[in-house]
Amino acid sequence: MKTKLFFVFAAFCCAFLAYGTYQALVVAPTEETMGDVQRIFYVHVPAATVGFTLFFVNFIASLAYLWKRSPKADALAAASAEVGVVFCSVVLITGPIWARYAWGVWWSPWDMRLNTTLMLWLLYVSYLILRKSSTGSSTSVLASALAVFAFLDVPIVYMANRWFRTHHPAPMIGTPNLDHRMQNILFINMLAFLVFGSLIAWFRYELERTTQKINAAHVRRAATGGAAMLALPAMFLATPNHVNPTAYLWGGYLAAWGIYVGYLLFLMSKLAKLKKETAEL
């Protein structure tokens, strides 16, 4: 039943994502000053939305764990943090590709918005490291306490735009500055990526539950895996003025989907390992 529901959801998600991407790449109007590269917007912003949402889920699940000590809440916290890091990585990779064309630099070191997003990513990576390196049942408690601390930094990320100087544009949704066609397509993509994010998080959650069950059956550490590595094209060397914005657009899309697909493959290999382990029990 659950598996069937999962595949129906996955099929719906694929169709929705394909529709959203088609809208973003073909239907959406080309931006006047930045040209095609602006279409990165439709993966960059939704990825940020999904990432921040998942970090929020992680915070709620951690609080729930601290209160009720239920292993389900812990599994949800672990799953949402890991998938959140993946989406946050997409934000941090597509952002510089876009910025290189729009601002002429990959990264602006004194920009608070960029720094705070990077900081969030670092925080949740440290959360994942803590989960891997603590032992036994103390893992969940320590990780939940850290999650509360990490989430206290999220309001700072949101307020940083207003408190400090930044290159990064202020949120434009709902303001007359954003073309309404662009806005609609952005919303379609946000929804599509939210569906995608919850699908992966659900998958990861089931994996975590299986791991918990296996660990409960016989205490043994789950296998660790390497993160998906990604090579960016040779546009690092090109000066932005001589480059077609479309090249940056493709760079952004390829990087984003490279991360998503790489992460899915990683989850698949984890699933295969867990299946093998369950069969041995």
């Binding site: 601290l66 408690v141 509360v148």
Partner: protein
Amino acid sequence: MNASITRLSWINVAKDLRLEWRSRDVFNSMMFFALVVVVVFSFAFERDDSRPVMGGLIWVAFLFSTTMALNQSWARELRNGVLDAYRVSPAPAEALFLGKVLGNFILILLLECLMAPLFVIFYNLSSVGPLWQLGVIALLGTWALVVNGTFFAAMSIRTRNRELMLPLLLLPISIPAVLTMVTATTQVLTGEGAPAVQMKFLAGYCVVFTTACFLLFETVLNAE
């Protein structure tokens, strides 16, 4: 038996300081480490106008020495089984935490007071802006580092790779505070702009994270 939190914390502070005074193992190594950092930096950077980079250098030196000191402060308690004793005692865990934080705070402030003249000597440093602002920034910044550091040191000694874990947890959490400390210090040293916003931000950061530490410390102490 009705000892108040203040009294219990004070007993902890006095015990920590007495131990440190007799052995001086943390303080000496921390002081030496900070000295080496200052000397290495003085070789690595130009001295003509060091003011724009000094804010960063000073705080990086203090941050690293703080990390060293904090790891040791809990390691001692773990070796002697003090944590287990505390878990079974009726004294509130917050008293232990407050005592540790105050003890570390005093230690790090002492270190900063001893290091400040070294920065002045090695970099021929003088401040353009008012000095009292540097004092306020140092107090707030040190508190922010020490309160989070003490909490995360208690957390990281529970993991497999103890000493390695503290910087991994503490640095990301402290980035907003460190960024603000550095920009505020640089503003005072160069005399460009008043760091009022940064000071308020630091104060807010201290309040938020001190509260969170106190609320969660007992949970972390008893995690098993």
